[in-house]
């Protein structure tokens, strides 16, 4: 018999922390750090989106809009209004949250495919606005961002930082930051899931009627989780913007929204650790597929279909249940 702690999701968090802490001993060069940083930031968005899609059962095909919203707000606030990155990021997150609240109110009473369609529409509109308002956003060619600064210390990907007798490169520090953000994101998500709020959200998915008669104001809770997941995306977007130093409206595109929802579904809906694996796969897969050159799309499409057909509940949940069945 395992102890209760080992069976709780928080044990998973500890192990995730362990894995993240071990990564620096495995990587061989800065490119690996780059991928890891991307994985952590993408996984952060996915963990938030999973609250909405996996736990509360509300599909969003336009989530890239919030990610782009955070990134662009940070870009504009830092470059045109001379606000330092950290407050800019917070203002961006608040702004994106407010926008999500405003647009969420009318669209979240839609169900199923109509909700998909409406969120898709929002994403498309956001991408068009970013593309067209070039005075503000730099238009289709994109916009640059300054390096992140924390408490007056600039964190450039390219800098070197002496720290307690060690010299850490900017790339390494960025990875540590992204990993910390992911851990925090997972911790908050786990807390939410195992709370009255989390039960109400899961009930939206399990049985909206049960939730209603149990006293859950379903409209309000849908809106809440929509805003929470939008803020997750915004923060990750802002960080990605500062990390990469340059963003284009491509990050708000329909394709990017699809990529995000694919991460959630592929990794496993309603499985916080599953979607992290989903993010790992979707970030790494293009790197592996470069050898296929012209056949890259064919292989990617085939993998996507195969995984979803044979593991319809997503990688982690399906493998987990098979494993448990095998153990019995």
């Amino acid at each position: 018999m395992k102890t209760p702690f080992l069976r709780s999701p928080y044990a998973g968090l500890l192990l995730l922390a362990l894995v993240l802490a071990l990564m620096p001993f495995l990587v061989r060069n800065d490119f690996h750090y780059d991928l890891l940083t991307k994985i952590c930031l993408t996984a952060t968005v996915a963990v938030g989106l999973n609250l909405l899609v996996g736990y509360a059962g509300q599909v969003s095909l336009g989530h890239a809009a919030f990610y782009a919203g955070g990134a662009y707000a940070s870009a504009i606030l830092t470059s045109q209004y001379q606000i330092t990155p950290l407050p800019a990021m917070l203002i961006a997150a608040a702004g994106v949250g407010v926008i999500a609240w405003l647009v969420g109110r009318p669209i979240l009473h839609l169900k199923g495919h109509y909700l998909s369609m409406a969120t898709l529409g929002l994403g498309v509109i956001a991408a068009i606005v970013l593309n067209n308002e070039d005075q503000l956003t730099g238009g289709p060619d994109g916009i640059g961002l300054p390096p992140l600064s924390l408490l007056g210390h600039e964190l450039s990907v390219f800098g070197e930082y002496p720290f307690a007798g060690l010299t850490l490169t900017g790339v390494e520090l960025w990875y540590l930051l992204a990993a910390a953000v992911l851990l925090l994101a997972v911790l908050l998500a786990l807390n939410i899931i195992d709370s009255p709020l989390g039960r109400a959200l899961r009930a939206l998915h399990g049985s909206e009627i049960a939730a209603q008669v149990a006293g859950v104001d379903t409209a309000r809770f849908k809106l809440r989780v929509f805003v929470i997941s939008a803020v997750y995306a915004s923060v990750a977007g802002s960080l990605y913007g500062h990390y990469s130093g340059f963003i284009t409206p491509g990050i708000a595109s329909f394709e990017h929204s699809i990529e995000l929802i694919t991460i959630v579904v592929l990794g496993g809906m309603a499985s916080t650790f599953g979607v992290i694996i989903g993010a790992v796969i979707l970030v790494l897969i293009p790197q592996f597929l470069t050898d296929f050159q012209e056949l890259e799309m064919v292989v990617f499409g085939a993998i996507l279909m195969a995984v979803m057909i044979f593991l319809p509940r997503g990688l982690l949940p399906t493998l987990l249940s098979r494993f448990q069945r095998g153990a019995r």
Partner: protein, 291 residues
């Protein structure tokens, strides 16, 4: 100014007819299987590109078209057999991802075998355009409209008159009951995917002379078709047609009268407004949820 209005209308109706055909394809599959098939746009691509490739291989135009339609039909059936049917237990979002995977797969194949070039198909009539009320009307637009109308009528007859059509309808209403009534639902679903693919391919062939065709035309047209189907109310054929026309016209009028910058955004705003008041689209069923 009237001629201007005519011009925008012609352009909107042509676009709308294309969207409507794609939306009908969505509707057909949605009705039979409750799957939103994001690979629908790829059938258009197969229709257009298939014709181009066969034409280049030396086939006469009608034969090339026929071949391309056949190819698309086969692709539809294979899609169902290999990707949708095995995923019976999958939930809605998973099915969406599967069809997206299929769409990427098909696009990848087309790119690999048929290349990335854009191609033009010859128009069907010798004359390019005629003047109506001071506005230019393309003869190919008339072909698009004519064929769209014929297809819609044919589909309506098929569903209301033929045994097969009725069987598809019955399956869409209640799969278990249909099975009990002796309908082979597997066959019916396969058929629905095949017909839907054919429909898409026809649209792909008839618009190619106006819009060009390439391995990636399916993305945008597929998306617009989905939008049109959703405005009309998923599962309603009338809705698909009205939704398609509404989308096409609103794009053309926005580009013409408001701002071409926001041509693609304004229709979405209209759609969001429609969905706000009619959460099941214009013609969607407003059945009360059974508890």
């Amino acid at each position: 100014m009237l001629s201007e209005f005519f011009q925008f209308t012609f352009s909107g109706v042509t676009l709308g007819a294309i969207y409507a055909l794609v939306a009908l394809g969505f509707t057909l599959i949605y009705n039979a299987s409750h799957v939103i098939n994001f690979a629908q746009g790829e059938f258009l691509m197969i229709g257009g590109m298939g014709t181009v490739v066969l034409l280049e291989a030396g086939a006469p135009l009608p034969l090339a078209m026929l071949g391309a339609l056949l190819l698309a039909g086969v692709a539809g059936v294979v899609l169902y057999k290999l990707a949708i049917a095995p995923a019976k237990k999958a939930n809605v979002v998973t099915l969406i991802i599967i069809t997206i995977g299929a769409s990427i797969f098909l696009r990848g194949l087309a790119q690999f075998f048929w290349g990335k070039q854009y191609h033009a198909l010859p128009r069907f009539s010798a004359t390019e355009s005629i003047s109506v009320g001071g506005a230019t009307l393309l003869t190919q637009s008339l072909w698009v409209l004519g064929i769209a109308v014929v297809l819609v009528v044919a589909l309506a007859l098929f569903f209301n008159r033929s045994r097969l059509g009725k069987a598809i309808l019955a399956t869409s209403m209640n799969k278990d009951a249909a099975r009990l009534a002796g309908i082979k639902t597997q066959t019916i679903l396969t058929l629905a995917f095949g017909i839907s693919a054919l429909l898409g391919a026809v649209a792909g062939v008839i618009v190619a002379p106006i819009t060009f065709t390439a391995y990636d035309v399916g993305i945008m047209l597929g998306l617009k078709g989905f939008v049109a189907a959703a405005i009309g109310g998923l599962g309603s054929s009338t809705g698909a047609i009205v939704g398609g026309l509404l989308l096409g016209l609103s794009e053309a009028y926005t580009a013409g009268y408001i701002s071409s910058d926001y041509k693609d955004a304004v229709p979405f705003v209209i759609i969001l407004a429609i969905l706000f008041f009619l959460p099941n689209g214009l013609f969607g069923s407003r059945a009360v949820e059974r508890v």
